[in-house]
């Protein structure tokens, strides 16, 4: 990986987007085990229905992990100072998330980014921001 240099980054610069595979029930089961989030609402249809839902839905932290991949594909992880997201819509089974990032500003070598995860129908599932050290 060649990390971006400060000179190559300016407001408006977009990170290479990350398109992941559609989320299957197997993805949800594996992520439940790997992440330690065993909340059955993501993996057990009976529990989801008992809560009045039609189906299980993806763990929000799965999409946040994909956003983390977007960032660490772009810079080595130790340059990431902080980041955060709002989970604004649920991600249904079989949805295919795309992670995007855009530089808002660069000040004293610190880049402020806006982040999004979107679905093919335009739904924004996660909206967030990050601060990356480019010095």
């Amino acid at each position: 990986m060649t990390a971006p240099t400060l000179a190559a980054v300016a407001a408006g610069t977009e990170l290479p987007p990350l398109v992941v595979d559609p989320i299957s029930r197997a993805t949800l089961a594996l992520f439940a085990g790997a992440s330690g989030d065993h909340n059955p609402i993501h993996i057990d249809l009976d529990v989801a229905r008992s809560a009045g839902l039609d189906d299980v839905f993806a763990q929000g932290m799965l999409s946040m992990a994909y956003l983390g991949r977007l960032l660490t594909n772009w810079v080595p992880q130790e340059r990431l100072r902080s980041w955060g997201v709002r989970f604004v819509a649920i991600t249904p089974v079989r949805a295919q998330p795309t992670c995007t990032g855009r530089i808002l500003s660069v000040t004293d070598g610190l880049a402020a980014l806006e982040l999004e995860v979107t679905l093919p129908d335009g739904t924004i599932t996660l909206a967030g921001d990050a601060v990356v050290d480019l010095t």
Partner: protein, 152 residues
Amino acid sequence: MAVDACKALAYRFEPLVVTAERGRLAFFARATGQADPVYADLAAAKAAGHPDLPIPPSFYFSLELGRPDPFGWLAALDVDLRRVLHGEQSFAYHASAHAGDVLTLTSRITDVAVKKGGALELLTKKTGVTRDGQPIAEAVSVIVVRYPAAGR
């Protein structure tokens, strides 16, 4: 039934001492489609200058779920897990951490807010991560509890 704010703010989490296991991090990489071998292959991690597999950015949330009863604090506050949504999550970092590091996680609930006439309640939980007393990271979670019947 809404969460008792006084009870929530006074809730005491036992400090959690936890080690990120290498195999677990490799499993997390696989489960999240991570193609960068630094996160799953020890030789690749070492070639990139890491002493072991790095703990990925969002994994501190998972470390905290290593408690024997990770949702016990919600049960203690009489929250039905089926009514819970993850509203927000953020992380800030002070130093890198890797597989094998012994980390101490200290959590507390810092805010309880009622929204939409009682239809939603927002619990903010902050977790500090340290290694040998030195700060590694902070994680902040906002948990949303839904009370559909209260919505107006």
